[in-house]
Amino acid sequence: MARIIVVTSGKGGVGKTTTSASISTGLAKRGHKTVVIDFDVGLRNLDLIMNCERRVVYDFVNVIQGEASLNQALIRDKRVDTLYILPASQTREKEALTKDGVEKVINELSETFDYIVCDSPAGIEHGALMALYYADEAIVVTNPEVSSVRDSDRILGILQSKSRRAEMGQDPVKEHLLLTRYNPSRVEKGEMLSVADVEEILAIPLLGVIPESQIVLNASNQGLPVILEEDSDAGQAYDDAVARLLGEEREHRFMTSQKKGFFSRMFKGG
């Protein structure tokens, strides 16, 4: 049985797709057969970040509606061969994702994959609910600002009340906090919430802190999951997060604005 992980946030623009791309790439790089599904029907982005947008023939909705088989729709990543992408449809409505249809696809994927990463759309509407419904675990992507924290809190409540695990009365969805766009020097100036603030408010375990970095943007624009930028602090932070997701103990990094860290980032062009 595959582990089903939803990457969600409530708020838009916090880094869900970036995180989905990096986490799934990181899992696959460690040899786990991984598929990442784009649930953002109508606002397809994952294929851009994974640099496979020109290879999309069939999509998730085609599979749900029986117009294509899973094998036809799955795109194999060119960099990591245990990684597959199931792209979203750009032309359909989110309502095309039916509960039964999604279940059928997830069950079929479960038979052959170790990890299924679901990239949720923003909001708490149908698409987001479908993305989280079958999840065993959730990575809640949060920026260190109050509105993002509030929305993450909202989505945590939905995970505990509207997921399949909640409805069936099974063990609750395992929650992980991933803080992205973290800028320690701005935290010190009081312009951003600190890791401790966010942890205190949301009261869920911290999976990782991804520092704010130009590298993330550059990588996205080039269609490269930032975790593959192995020399960058953001790439290493994602690598740490994947290791923790797999049960490894790793000390949290990039949480303070050490002078050394700051300069080395400057010299690397970060």
């Binding site: 708490i124 509030r150 809190d153 009340s161 509207k162 609750p172 009261a203």
Partner: protein, 253 residues
Amino acid sequence: MSDTATSGVKQGFQLKSASVSMTALELYYFDDSEFEEVLRDKISQAPGFFKDIPLIISLEKYQGLDSELDFFKMIGTCRRNHIHVIGVRGGTDDQRRLARGAALALLPGNGQRDRTHEAEQAAADEAEAAVVAASTSAAGDPPPAKIISQPVRSGQQIHAPEGDLVILAPVQAGAEVLAAGNIHVYGPLRGRALAGIHGAESARVFCQSLEAELVSIAGHYKISEDLQDNGWKSAVQIQLRDDLLVVTPLDKA
């Protein structure tokens, strides 16, 4: 999807207790034509007030014959005058059976014991039994407290319609907790807490860190702005004294 849907509510509705003040028509005897005449006279004194109001017919002072009690005629007369009879209060078993036949709701009365000596005795015995029952149930079986150990997240609502509500986790901003009795939050209270929702003025709110958006006891409330001067972000209890919410630190209580 609506907000309530996210709190896991599956039914189309919920039953809530409501108390409404209503007009009662205290009936002494019933004569069809006189009834309508008096009714019209009363309505003419305040036509706006009586338009489409619900009405209950109190039988506690009724002295006429049961055979004269024609509820269908009463309902019809009232309806013609835009008044809706919804039930009866008090009355003997026979009278209440008649009312039931006219599809009226039956409300308990409290004047029945004036009727006859026998009835008085019986009612007194009954009342005594009720008191005993009430005290034993109070001693042995208080309304159960609802205990929640998960954080109450933004957008969620937790409702304890009978007793106390105990939350062993944070109540987040944008969440709402309501209880008929006291509310205990063993964590920060960042959302809205409404204790004594059925009017219990003795209800209190206890929390480990007061950061609430709103605190209400029996309908008397304070919003975040008014709470910040006293005990903010510390462990406090909030109670109602002379219609005012009073915040006291827990270590000085």
